[in-house]
Homo-oligomer: 304 residues x 2
């Protein structure tokens, strides 16, 4: 089997970004993505595509990047012999207007290292995931997410879904509040190819995850985007967005890596909500939908 | 000279909290502080006093705490022989309604450690500071802040103001944006008493800093609270509050210490703005007041 080239991964990711943006624009029906191309002084760059003040989406980013060059010091602990690296991926965070449409996050990425510049790869891996952060409980949407992800995973390895689902629940915990960011999904990292064939399989898995974004999210957006909402619902959405910002700024490894490795700040922080609130000691009323959501967001086996 | 007792520090801090809250209530003229008493399972507790939705203050916290007991693991690197500690202080963050009234932050604290519970002190220090985060440039207010702080400092040690002013500028830098949180003030830590007399002096300095809060802030609030503002001003205030949240969640040591040492979350995060915004790649228009503020916030020698 022919060895997989980095360019094949990059081509896929660029196409994925384009097709997701086109479909989200159609869903929105009002705003379009603006492209912001950027370059990294030390090597590589990316294209951030951002939608703002749409009919359905208040703020969303679909970012592609391919950065490379000398391995930053911050990554040196991960490896002993590598001096050079390539990292490429697509990252998405969408903050919808309607409090009944959940925030979605997706990332698929590939990383490789070598001793010489563009030399023989000494270590490489795939990582990624999709997860949903609704403000309100919605069992149908949550099942749609988890069932789709399980089907995607099961085609590759039946251990993937349970492992990556648990990993996601662990990762997206707001530890200081002992609270989940949302209803999870899957999260995986450091999937290392054992040989050329396995690398093709892991690339296929990356594609399967990337390609599941639209079927998952378009369905959920369609179901909920016309729902009517009131001031109370918006307030709760803003409170939950505050939690989202807390998680990303305090715990998210990608965010911290980006900030400390002199990444492009606006592309990294596009994940932050357009508008968030922090009220002192805010507690939802007993038996309210807001109180129910906090119970709903606890890690559960959604499918068996 | 009689050794200073911990209770004298605590009495001062509780009185300071009370007098600041009373004065801020008068300034606000509408809302009052609500008290939230809390206890810490491992020893001690505090009183969080919070004002919300006031005429002048949108959200503000004036917190007193005195916690003690076995030294948490997270602090063990700071000392070799201590097993027990006391920490007490007052922390304030005020987010005003009017975008021309700056956010203020103040903290005064005392920390001591001992081998035995409540035994002979093996290490102790005072720390604190006051700093201002306006959304718009205001030279008069900035000079009032720095001049008052310099007068306070000079009565104790003429090296204090320049040292603590620079420390403050360094500390309140939003590193990933190479931007200041505001116009600084003073920041100091680990002021260790050399003997009983020196400890009394350091306590007097704590009192002088604490007592300077009202003369500094009441004057600045009075000057600006009736200023008219428009949508653009509010938007910029929300963007600057987003920066404030970024700083506190990513860099602030007190916040991280609190979150990792099982502190009281709502008291720690009362510093977060009631309402913040993140717009993608937001850049103020050339020659606008908003653009001017970013230049104004650079560290400067305000007084010579």
């Amino acid at each position: 089997m022919k060895a997989l080239e980095l360019n094949e991964i990059i081509t896929y990711l660029v196409d994925l970004q384009q097709s997701i943006c086109s479909s989200l624009e159609k869903l929105d029906g009002q705003s379009t993505f603006k492209t912001d191309n950027w370059t990294r002084t030390e090597g590589g760059g990316g294209a951030s595509k951002v939608i703002e003040n749409g009919n359905v989406f208040e703020k969303g980013g679909v970012n592609f990047s391919h950065v490379y060059g000398k391995l930053p010091d911050i990554l040196k602990s991960e490896t002993r012999t590598a001096n050079y690296f390539h990292a490429t991926g697509v990252s998405i965070v969408i903050h919808p207007q309607n409090p009944f449409v959940p925030i979605i996050h997706m990332n698929v990425r590939y990383f490789c290292m070598s001793e010489e510049e563009n030399g023989k790869i000494t270590d490489e891996w795939f990582g990624g995931g999709i997860d949903l952060s609704p403000a309100y409980p919605n069992e149908d949407d949550t099942l749609h997410l988890h069932q789709t992800l399980k089907e995607v995973c099961d085609k590759f390895d039946i251990s993937y879904y349970p492992t990556f689902k648990t990993w996601c629940d662990d990762y997206f915990t707001i530890k200081h509040r002992n609270e989940m960011r949302g209803v999870g999904g899957i999260f995986y990292d450091h999937l290392r190819p054992k040989n050329d064939e396995h690398k093709h399989q892991l690339f296929s898995f990356m594609q399967a995850v990337g390609n599941s974004f639209l079927p998952i999210y378009a369905e959920i957006v369609q179901r909920n985007k016309e729902k009517s909402f009131n001031e109370k619902n918006k307030e709760w959405q803003f409170v939950r967005r505050g939690r989202y910002a807390e998680f990303n700024l305090i715990y998210d490894r990608g965010t911290h890596f980006g900030l400390r490795s002199n990444g492009r700040i606006e592309s990294i922080l596009m994940s932050l909500p357009p508008h968030a609130e922090w009220k002192y000691n805010y507690e939802p009323k007993e038996n309210s939908d807001e109180a129910a959501s906090l119970l709903f967001f606890q890690p559960k086996n959604w499918i068996n």
